[in-house]
Symmetry: C2
């Protein structure tokens, strides 16, 4: 990771943090406990991988930074909502997230439920309250894309598929189906929404970018599985080895660690090939991809 | 209730049911269990009060019926998601809704959580996938309004405020704050989104309509509290007397039944006064208001 990229990423991470800090209702705003829990669940943590992808895609399409900040924040809110609900006792029953207590532990289950609900809603509020694209129709398309990526045929559907198959043996295609939905769809939305903040890319270019995003989304999950299998709780900041303990199907459980690593590298190669067609304009996307796929190895 | 209104309402209830039946993912669509639970929680039940308000407001602004159907369905999905989550063990812990088992009883808690999440997402998907207003900017405003009405400073915020105050004594202003958010905001959104499906109403007219919607929203809650206090489980189709049992503050617990009834009638009077300014064009809104406030008495 170059200093240049580190600076770029750190500036964007700060921009997202600052924006979300200002935009989330304050803790003086009734209902106080809910707003505390929302801020607790969103602020001060996470690598902001999806926002970084949105920013990098926004640079490719030379989009306005303020627009991209809002779009990136919306995607991050969807991600944050999914983590809050995913950690609840009826789902993964996790007590640690980003190195601190999960929302339902720090507050209570009912508050965690409403926190996730409200973070999702806020994402759509962000996407509709200011002009974020060159025309309003494109903005409607962006909202549709985020909704599609988040719902029962996107992220939430992937989680449901995951739950349905705990303890079962999955084939590789089934596993990929799960990940394309569970994490891939939102990563794809992050890239596409970032790019659509300006109309500069052609439909053909957007299609290529979408293919890139699919590869990165899948690679991201393979790496996540590898991290869970290899890392300790201390370096990961969340309870490690949960997947194996819960007997959840992962790339590692199906392919083994070595083959899972190969798969991550192959996906990165495919992603790189798309980016090469964009030349120098894709430098940030290339760096973010490296950052995602090579993190912690 | 006149036959004319019964026919009108029944046609709209069928239209919403048909639309939602077609638009909700089929039970052959993976993840099957999640889609079964979504359909179970939305279809075949409920008075569709919010859709009826949206349709009536749409008639006032002479909006296209197909647009209003989609908008009405989106509002109903938000309502349905809130019921699914509200019934969960960490919230109201209810086992009966609309005369059948609640979602987490019929399926399981994790599925109920994801069902509510996905129904919310689908609402925003509906509002963004087709043109629903005379211009795209108005449609963005409609999305913003629904998000605002649903989130932490709307419906979910009202639920959080409610939970925070179980067992406590509320003042009347605190109780009204709760209801304006918990149920009022979404009812207001139903009316305003229905009306905004066409640009025919002036800003001044929309403002009046908004005031009407606030009165109806509050009246609706007063009646709901009265129903809970008076009705039996059999006629209500959900567990009756839960509010008193849970020691929840309601209009009835603060004002008593007689004064709560007076309050409902006063609110209806205020609502009627606004509608009178619209003359004959508001006939359906007048009828729906009667239907909401006088139901079951």
């Amino acid at each position: 990771m170059t200093t240049d990229f580190q600076n770029w990423a750190s500036q964007r991470q700060t921009a997202i943090e600052t924006f979300l800090d200002r935009r989330l209702p304050g803790t003086d705003c009734v209902p106080v406990r809910l707003h505390q829990a929302m801020r607790y669940s969103v602020l001060g943590g996470g690598k902001r991988v999806r926002p970084l992808l949105a920013f990098a895609a926004g640079e490719l399409s030379q989009a306005d930074d303020q627009r991209v900040t809002i779009v990136a924040a919306a995607v991050e809110l969807i991600h944050a909502y999914s983590l809050v609900h995913d950690d609840m006792p009826c789902m993964d029953d996790d007590i640690l997230r980003r190195g601190k207590s999960t929302c339902h532990i720090e507050f209570d289950e009912a508050t965690a439920l409403l926190t996730g609900d409200s973070l999702q809603t806020l994402a759509f509020e962000l996407l509709s309250e200011k002009r974020l694209s060159d025309d309003a129709d494109t903005q409607l398309m962006m909202i549709k894309q985020l909704a599609n990526a988040s719902g029962s045929r996107g992220m939430a559907g992937g989680q449901a598929f995951d739950l349905d198959n705990v303890g079962k043996t999955l084939t590789l295609p089934e596993l990929e189906f799960m990940h394309i939905h569970k994490t891939g769809a939102l990563i794809r939305a992050a890239v596409m929404l970032g790019a659509r903040c300006s109309n500069r890319l052609s439909d053909a270019q957007l299609e290529k970018l979408d293919h890139f995003a699919k590869c990165v989304g899948l690679a991201f999950q393979v790496v996540d599985d590898l991290l869970d299998a290899e890392a300790t709780t201390a370096t990961l900041g969340k309870t490690a080895g949960k997947d194996a303990e819960n007997n959840k199907p992962t790339y590692v459980s199906i392919l083994g660690i070595r083959e899972a690593r190969d798969r991550a590298e192959k996906l990165q190669y495919d992603a790189d090939r798309v980016l090469n067609e964009f030349g120098n304009a894709a430098i940030r996307l290339r760096q973010v991809t490296d950052f995602i796929i090579k993190r912690k190895f």
